[in-house]
Symmetry: C2
Subunit: 421 residues, 2 copies
Amino acid sequence: MMGKPGPDRSSQGVASNVAPGPLSGLRILELGHFVAAPFCTRLLADIGAEVIKIEPLSGDPVRNWGEQLDGQSLWWSVHARNKKSVALNLKSSAAIEIVLDIARACDVLAENFRPGHLARLGLADEVLRAANPNLVIAHISGFGQTGPYRDRAAFGVIGEAMGGLRYLTNHEQESSATPPVRTGISIGDSLAGLYAAFGILAELWQREHSPGRRPVGRVDVALTEAVLSLMEGMLPEYGALGKIRRPSGSRIPTAAPSSAYRSADGKWIVIAANSDALFLTFMRLIGKPELANDPRYATNPARVENVDSLDRIIEAWTSTLVSEALVAMLSEVGIPCTRIYDASDCSSDVQFAARGMVREIVDPLLGSVLHPGIVPYHPESPGDVRWPGPALGQHTDEVLGELLKLSPAEISELRGQGAIS
Amino acid sequence: MMGKPGPDRSSQGVASNVAPGPLSGLRILELGHFVAAPFCTRLLADIGAEVIKIEPLSGDPVRNWGEQLDGQSLWWSVHARNKKSVALNLKSSAAIEIVLDIARACDVLAENFRPGHLARLGLADEVLRAANPNLVIAHISGFGQTGPYRDRAAFGVIGEAMGGLRYLTNHEQESSATPPVRTGISIGDSLAGLYAAFGILAELWQREHSPGRRPVGRVDVALTEAVLSLMEGMLPEYGALGKIRRPSGSRIPTAAPSSAYRSADGKWIVIAANSDALFLTFMRLIGKPELANDPRYATNPARVENVDSLDRIIEAWTSTLVSEALVAMLSEVGIPCTRIYDASDCSSDVQFAARGMVREIVDPLLGSVLHPGIVPYHPESPGDVRWPGPALGQHTDEVLGELLKLSPAEISELRGQGAIS
């Protein structure tokens, strides 16, 4: 089944050989698995880069993650879209030579093995750099390529917890009551992937603008650090004042009213009326304009001080109206608000549809599949979903034949040795 | 007070005129306020770009956000670091001419006003493009520059709620029990800023590699879309199976054990032992190796099915040990784990210290301030904190004099007219 389709949903899906998008012409070698490096290369491929993904003969584990349809992962259709899958046995020296040959033809290598793993396989940075002095090498790992924790295992949840984000995703309370929740996605991994994609393009800019000024550089992204870098005033406020930033539930600790309020139909509505002008508009809407002049609520500091009573007044109003009416009334007067969207809401939103941000893709392995669109949107050169996540080794012959100029007999021999599949 | 300093914390802080980092030589004009566009340009400035930030004569509102020291925002020290502040009154036509002159000398413009606002000021894309045909223009907004919601106001909380993230940051429960929490930061804004920084560099790559093939492009990032793009299998799983991804509290819905467990000293410890090998190691550590062969727990699907009883067994063990001992014992045997870090823990972590990720900066407005380090880390060309967030208009004279070659008399006249400050 398809859920209810949005009225203007873009229809896409026919694979094309022309890569649209600003990175058209850029070639990337991915030695990634799980989330972080593959997410990095999805972003690059979405806006036009050619990504050659090396997979072990057993495939990237994400092929088996999440909900399946006919034994195929639905997440994979998005996570590996626009990439070429080359299946290699990296324990074979012939396969390592193939990786080096591909690296010679690429601008970038992105990987997220445990630090030192590629070196043990014969693919140390120096070896890769000797093969291709212009190769930008991007490493993604839990803690970075240096330092006392470099060899520790990490997952997204560890990066989120050490970077300071997880501590805050909780209700306002004593710390021992209930555990802070996950954000619901592996956001430490995706943040690291985003930072790596940014760092890769920065190195490429340097390569073009200062040729010869220094060797082409590397990028070394840690999950923990990707998270820490977003933490706003957390570090300076602690350092100067000893203040530890605390979880604040569904509210913003320094602005009110801004929270999630219950509607009559049991939905949660985010309302952000936390400027004096918006607050006055809001109080007029709910028929209590006098509260905008009430000393308990007239200014943001006063509203923050009295947020419990204020939020009770607001919820007494929201709980009498269904979510659709609430959003319509609030939007009409310009107050930022929304129902908290679940998957169904996202898929039927008219704005996402109008911008191609929810689209149907024909997946040869799965049939019609809903994909998120291409972000960031480049109006003059939007990327596209050229094809969904490929079958394992789908592009082995193409890459070895067309890019590395191996003959069919040579490819057959490698396959016979178990070096490729 | 300073909190407890980490043993190897890097000491930095002297402003330098040489911009280190891979983007050295790139010049950016920021017409931003609040979080998204200023976060985008912080990332670019951190790795070497020159950022000229235009502020109204009243200053960016973030100058007054969060905790203050002597009337100065601590967050500002980080948020505006490495940028030049030029204070202009954009209602003055002379100030608009100055913006256009700066745009002529820049590679990039980044802005996050409501769509259409700059055009009303006389700074429409076509006007900017006429002034500088090679200018990459990056727009950040709540919903994007097109579509039925383009004119709606939005904040980070709206982007997070409509992109599908907020729905998931909750405990596993009936949807009407307690509201989903914020992540604790304006993550919708910072994600949009990250995507914009990535998109800007992609356009610059295109500009260098396909000169004349098409006009230099724009980037159009929506908060909602930046969030939606991270949502893993949410859309395809809904489209194909009608499955709505639900919040799962502190657990991962498809892998066990992976959650936050209470320690004897009342801390939360994240433990991720969700592979068969890690689970066996873990059960040996807690003295229950037989559970690794117990049909209720032997495989990941069985552990997910019986996660309530499994988590009770684990917490019966963790609650007998203090957090420091737990982390030491688990790390010793290679099980990914950590105490959930608050600001104090982040600031004293030895790995962050070893990698320069927590550093003291001398801020002329604030004294010694803790800053997060530069992410992504480029080992051959790391960026630096050249200076902390500047005073309002600190660089007005420098930019107008050195870059635009205005004479002191001309600058004085503009100041007399109220066009600059």
